[in-house]
Symmetry: C2
Subunit: 403 residues, 2 copies
Amino acid sequence: MDFEKYFSLGGGRIKSSKIREMMKLIGTPGIISMAGGMPDEQHFPFEQVQLIIEAWGPAKRAAALQYGATGGYPPLLERIGEYVAASGISMSGQRILPTSGAQQALQLLTRIFCDPGDSLLVEVPTFIGAVAVFAGYGAEPAGVKMDAEGLIPGELERKIIELRSSGRTPKFLYTNPTFQNPSGLTMSQGRRDEIYSVCSRHDLPIVEDDPYYELYFEGGPADYRSLKARDRDNRVLRVNTFSKILSPGLRLGWIIGEPAVLARCEMAKQGEDACSSSFSQVVAADYLAAGCVAEYTAKMRAIYREKCRLMLSCLEREMPEGVSWSTPKGGFFIWVSLPAGLESERVLLRSVENKVAFVTGQPFHVDGGGTNYCRLAYSNSSAEQIEEGIRRLARVIREMLPG
Amino acid sequence: MDFEKYFSLGGGRIKSSKIREMMKLIGTPGIISMAGGMPDEQHFPFEQVQLIIEAWGPAKRAAALQYGATGGYPPLLERIGEYVAASGISMSGQRILPTSGAQQALQLLTRIFCDPGDSLLVEVPTFIGAVAVFAGYGAEPAGVKMDAEGLIPGELERKIIELRSSGRTPKFLYTNPTFQNPSGLTMSQGRRDEIYSVCSRHDLPIVEDDPYYELYFEGGPADYRSLKARDRDNRVLRVNTFSKILSPGLRLGWIIGEPAVLARCEMAKQGEDACSSSFSQVVAADYLAAGCVAEYTAKMRAIYREKCRLMLSCLEREMPEGVSWSTPKGGFFIWVSLPAGLESERVLLRSVENKVAFVTGQPFHVDGGGTNYCRLAYSNSSAEQIEEGIRRLARVIREMLPG
C-alpha cells in the first residue's frame, strides 16, 4: 500500500543527519575514514566488562536481564552521583536520569522544551547530532559566534535581546564547552563564568553537553571545570555519556539537573523506550564502583594525545600553504580550514575517490556558513591510517588548489 | 530557576503511564505483586548470554562496544529475517529495523504517523503502554469492541466509516492479536482474515504488536499465524521483541514492514538514540544463530502454563461468586471481572494494605470503561506467591462485596 497520505507533519520534519548520510558514501572498501567521531575500538575495556559480568550473582543477573524503572537502576544513580560530585558539582537539589546515550538526553530535553517554531541558541559551529534533533522538533536554532576562548558573551547577550525583542523566547542555550565537536575549541574558565552570568541575567536555561572533558591532553580537571559546577540557580542541565569513558555500544548517558525538568524527561522516556538497557546499567554501575573510569581515561588520554600529535605533524608536513587547523587540547577532532574558494564538499567527493574521508563543516553551521571547513577525527584511526590518510587528503587538496 | 514558562506544549501532552505510577504504590516491602507484565526472572537464559559473550573474538568485541548504524547490526538483521521467515512471513519487499524494545517501535510509528488530533483505532481494552505513547503525540485512539474471537470486524468497519464520514482519517489500526495484554484474548485465525480484509478494503495500515505469540499453552504456531503472514498489500507493520524470547533488560525489539515506512522510523531513531545497544544486538544475533529461542521458549511455555494453571485453580478455589476471569491460551495475564459496582481501583487500594497488588482495568480502556476489571500477571510470581496472592486478593474482595 501507499503510506504517503498517512504520514504526519511532525514526522516530515525529521531529517537524516548529514553525517549519517555521508557515512554511507564512506563505506566503500579500502577507504581511510577520519569521518566518524568514534572512540578507539582497539582499546575498549572489554576485559573489565567481562570480569564484571562474570562476578554477577543471581540478583544482578536478574536485574541486568529484567525490565527496570524508567528512572534508572538505583545503584547506577548512586555511582553516577559520586562520580559527578568528584568533578566539583554539588549534588544538592539535583536529580540524575540515565538515558539511552547522550543522544536521547538531547532528544528528551528538546521534546519537553521545544514546540515547532521555538528558538534556541547554539554555538557556531555546533554538534550536528543536536542540530538534527532540534530540526526534528521544528525548533529553530540561532547561532552565536565563538572565538579562541569559546562562546562570546557579548554576542550571546545580543542574540538573546534580539530574539526577545522580536517576540521570541529562546528555550535554552545549547553548549558543548570542552574540546567542542567539531571545532575542538574549549571555553575558557573565565568565559564559563561570563556565559553563566549572561544566562543568569536573562534567566535562560543552559544545556551543557560535555562528553569529552575527561579526555584532556594538557592541564587538569580544574581547567575544564563545568558550567554545572557554577550553577547557583540550578539552570544547567548537564548531559554526559559513558561513550567516552566506557563504550558507546552500551548506549548509556545521563542528565543531571533540576528535578522538575527531569521528571518531564522521565515521563517522555517512559513512552520512548521504557528504560535504558538494564544490562548496560548494571555493567556501568559496577564499572564506576570498581574505579575503572580513572584507569581507562588515563590510558586513553595518552593514546588520543599521541594520535592527535601525529595527525598535527602529518598536517604540518603534508598540507599546502593556505590550509590551517586547530590544535586541540583534548577530544577527538581537528578542525581544518581550507583556502577561501575551496569548498569542503567538493574536496570530500574527490577524497572519497582517492579513498580518504572526513566530514564537511557546513552541516555544523546553523548560519549556513562553514563551507570551507573539514572535521578530521583521529580517535579511531591507527598511526598508519593517520599518516596515509593525511597524505591522500593533502594530495587531493593540492590538486584542487587554483594553479 | 523556574522552568515552567519554558516547557513545550508538546511535552505537556506526555502523561505518565498509570501502570508505572501504580508501580510506585506497589514497591512496599512484603507485597506480592501480580502487577507488572514481567518475564520470569528466575529463568532468564543468563548462562547462554554469558557463553555467547565469552566466545566473542576481537571483531565482535569491538562491534558490541562501538557505535553501530541506526539501521542495525547487519548480522542481526539477517538472523531476524530467518527467524521471521520461519514463522510463515514472506521477507520479500520487507525491511527490518531493530528498535530499543517494542516500546520504541510503537513510539517511532506513532511519531511518523500521528499529529496532534489525529485518530487511530485500538482494541477495547488495549495495551496501556501504547495508550501512553498515543497520548504523548496528541493522537486520539477510538476503541473497537472485541468478543471471544478478538476484534469484531463489523465494529471495526463501522468505526472506520464513522470517523471518515466525520472528516477524520484514522492513521492505523493498532492490534495485539495473540494472548492480548491485558485481556488474554486471542484473535482467531478466521478473524484475522476478516480483520485484514476490512483494513484492505478501507486501505488502513495495521500495526501488529505481537510479543507473546511464542508463549502458547495449547495448539501450535499455525493457531497463532500473524496478520503479517497474510499481508498481500504490505500494509502490516509488525512489532516484535526479544523481551519474551531472551530478555527485556537488553531493550531490543524490531519492526518489519514496508521499507518506505521504516526509512522514516530510522530517521526518527537517529535523533532519538542513534542506535540500539550494539552489545544487545550482537548478543541477540548470536542467540538467534545458536537456536536458543526454540529451547528457551519451549522451557518457558511449560513454566508459564504451569503458573497459569495454578492461578486459575486458586481463583476457582478462593474467589466468591460473581467474580469471573479469562482462561488464557498463552501469555502472561488473567483478566478478572469483578461483580458490578465493585470498582477495581478501590479493591487495589485495599489490596495494597493487605500486601497484594495487581493492575486496574480502566487505564486499558480508551472508552473510559473497564472500571471493574483487574489484570493479574502470573508470569513472574512463584507458586507460593500465586497461592498466597490470590488468597489475599480473594479475602479483600469478599470483604468488599455488599453483605
